[in-house]
């Protein structure tokens, strides 16, 4: 054994090493920030930033998804489940009393809250569930914030016979207690995550660690348009049905397109789902609503476009709330589903391109909007969706009476009664 200290033992060569051939083996090593469209890139955003262990699984998932997309049988089976199991199509409802009260644009509500399990999340879970079957895996893991994605995942796993583990921050378990019980009732194991802010971001970290470990047998059923390629594209595609239906429904009801569409944006799955089929209709304003939380300081909100900057978190390049050293910031929102420091990469691209706008709604505004919608239309929205309602309260009065605005009610508020009770003090 070498006992002399500081002996020259290792010499790492530098680029004088001529043996090294860059970009050999037909690999293009200059892809990053190319800016041109390529799978998994939305402008400069997106990509696939994960530990090497996961790369093969992501490539497999991408291949299987591409095949499934072109497979009529797969699509027919998914459509049938969406119709007979999830309850699609969801209604587009004219909110007459809310419209009158606000005195401006005609307000329509896209009722994703009426879906089985209570939110839009089931669209994606059924799609990925059928992919899991195709790939022959039997174990499914997921993260959840508000618990809606966890419940939808547990539901699909029960339906298709998969083992299911859901990671959830312990702070979220506390505030979304009812959904924790629902998941357990459905046969899923809920694993509490105690690191960081004990919310959605930390649940994703833990799910990724599980996946890295069990990648050969396990599918990670990611619940938003986040993470490494192909997730942002695949999850969007499974939610496109929202916008496709809404477009046909509004044309049938009103004979014209809406002036604006408003949806809340956590990771951004319900919003991209309803936006997507309207992107080419340049006159339709697309408005995403982020969690404004309790203030503008870093740590008091989850408005990525107000305080964030481009960075890489959990597999994708997008806007991220971070400090000057690149550490990810803590976030706050009354709504667990919006309480996340990054945003889907396609939203970052839509925002940079000026095609969609993103505005914050505060905790207080969301709570107020919940009460208003409950009392004018008899609909209790999820606290996430209430952020979108809060924005229509600001927008509708400024719009012409002949204008139409569609609000995506992405989920129902049953899960939030505990928080609402504490906050609203009605009893």
């Amino acid at each position: 054994m070498a006992t002399a200290s500081k002996i020259s033992k290792v010499k790492i060569p530098t680029s004088g090493n001529t043996r090294q051939k860059w970009g050999t083996h037909g690999v293009d090593l200059s892809r990053v920030s190319a800016g041109k469209h390529e799978p998994g890139r939305f402008g400069v955003y997106g990509g696939r930033y994960v530990p090497e262990t996961l790369m093969a699984a992501l490539e497999e998932l991408e291949r299987e998804y591409e095949k499934a997309k072109r497979d009529r049988k797969f699509q027919a089976r998914l459509d049938l489940l969406l119709k007979t199991y999830a309850g699609r199509p969801t209604p587009l409802f004219f909110a007459r009393r809310l419209t009158e009260k606000l005195g401006g644009a005609k307000i329509y509500l896209k009722r994703e809250d009426l879906l089985h399990t209570g939110a839009h999340k089931i669209n994606n879970c059924l799609g990925q569930g059928l992919l899991v079957e195709r790939m022959g895996k039997h174990r499914v893991i997921a993260e959840t914030g508000a618990g809606q994605h966890g419940v939808a995942t547990a539901t699909v796993c029960a339906l298709l016979g998969f083992e299911c583990v859901v990671y959830m921050g312990t702070e979220d378990m506390r505030r979304q207690e009812l959904n924790v019980f629902r998941m357990r009732l459905l046969g899923a194991e809920v694993r509490g995550v105690n690191s960081g802010s004990r919310t959605l971001k930390d649940a994703i970290n833990e799910a990724m660690r599980d996946w890295v470990t069990n990648v050969r047998t396990t599918h990670y059923l990611l619940g938003s348009v986040l993470g490494a390629h192909p997730y942002p594209t695949m999850v969007r595609d499974f939610h496109r049905v929202i916008g496709r239906e809404a477009r046909a429904q509004i044309l049938k009801a009103e004979g014209k397109l809406p002036a604006a569409i408003i949806a809340c944006v956590g990771g951004g799955s319900n919003s991209i789902g309803i936006f997507y089929d309207f992107i080419k209709d340049k006159k339709v304003r697309l408005i995403g609503v982020e969690a404004g939380g309790r203030g503008e300081a870093l740590g008091d909100h989850a408005a990525r476009f107000r305080g964030g900057s481009p960075g890489v978190l959990q597999g994708t390049y997008s806007y991220v709330l971070q400090d000057s050293a690149g550490q990810i910031a803590l976030t706050h929102s009354v709504s667990a589903g919006l309480d996340y420091p990054s945003i889907g990469p396609e939203h970052a691209a839509l925002r940079d391109a000026g095609r969609a706008e993103y505005l914050p709604a505060s905790d207080a505004e969301a709570l107020e909007a919940t009460t208003l919608l409950a009392r004018t239309e008899g609909i209790i929205p999820a606290l996430e969706s209430a952020h979108a309602v809060a924005e229509v309260i600001k927008q509708a009065p400024k719009m012409k009476k002949s204008d139409i605005v569609i609000v995506n009610v992405s989920g129902r508020g049953d899960k939030d009664v505990g928080i609402l009770r504490e906050s609203l003090k009605l009893d």
């Binding site: 054994m1 790492i12 860059w22 790369m55 890295v212 550490q327």
Partner: protein
């Protein structure tokens, strides 16, 4: 010329910088070098270490509570370089702190500090174009991970993009100790040998002299991380001495000089 290990297996020691504080990290690293570590991985703490197990997660949290940043880690690297001119120094980081500093600035400062190589946990070769250009421009060696799940065509790309050595991940999973080393590890090293002449360092889950010796039979170098970080955690107040003793026990089974050097 390619990376030369003068003994086999060479020992690469990982520390999370700033745990318990940067001054102690410096002492720990110097003690590890004194005890026989051939190269040092300077771990940059990150708020969301998805590839790390509980030991390095806890160390990262402690380091971040003290405000440890990438800039400070590079300053530390320069201090260590003054004391240890010929030990390999590798920065081990997640991508975001590097992006935030700026690729070019990072490479420039790292090179000036005397850093030799960089390993970015969440940067696969496909996404590494700009990174590789910056590394090359500043004379730094990019080191990539190879996993048991990587098919052969990926191993070829990884080897082509790597300089210095290839870091083989012993098994699927996060960093941290394991009772048994997976058969995965041996298979992966064998597969890598077919596609590259670069030395192969094996890491993840190696914590005992016995495992070190076992792995040393087929790998050129062994990375020990969580076991060192845990030694630091368990020996408050005498971290450097404890790590020195631990590294000595490991390098007792290494140290067969250069007859087997590649």
């Amino acid at each position: 010329m390619p990376l030369t290990f003068y003994k086999k297996p060479a020992l690469v020691a990982y520390v999370t910088c700033g745990d318990p504080d940067l001054a102690t990290t410096r002492e720990i690293v110097l003690a590890a070098i004194e005890a026989g570590a051939d190269a040092i991985e300077l771990g940059v703490p990150f708020s969301d270490p998805v590839a790390d197990g509980p030991v390095i997660q806890r160390a990262s949290e402690r380091a971040l509570k003290r405000g440890t940043s990438l800039g400070q880690v590079l300053t530390l690297a320069a201090e260590i370089r003054e004391q240890a001119q010929s030990t390999g120094l590798i920065v081990f980081s997640y991508l975001n702190p590097i992006l935030r500093m700026g690729l070019d600035k990072f490479c420039k400062v790292a090179r000036a500090a005397g850093v030799d190589g960089v390993l970015v946990t969440d940067l696969p070769v496909e996404e590494a174009g700009a990174y590789l250009r910056a590394m090359r421009e500043h004379d730094l060696s990019p080191i990539f991970l190879a996993a048991p799940t990587s098919p052969d065509d990926r191993l070829r790309r990884i080897a082509a993009a790597s300089q210095g050595f290839v870091y083989a991940v012993s098994r699927t999973g996060v960093t941290g100790q394991r009772q048994q080393l997976a058969e995965d590890a041996r298979k992966l090293v064998t597969r890598l040998r077919r596609v590259t002449k670069l030395p192969v360092a094996l890491g993840f889950g190696i914590s005992t002299p016995e495992q070190f010796a076992e792995v040393g039979e087929f790998a050129d170098a062994v990375v020990v991380g969580s076991a060192i970080v845990e030694t630091i955690e368990r020996n408050r107040g005498r971290e450097a001495a404890a790590v020195g003793e631990f590294v000595k026990r490991l390098s007792a089974v290494s140290g067969q000089p250069s007859a087997v050097a590649r």
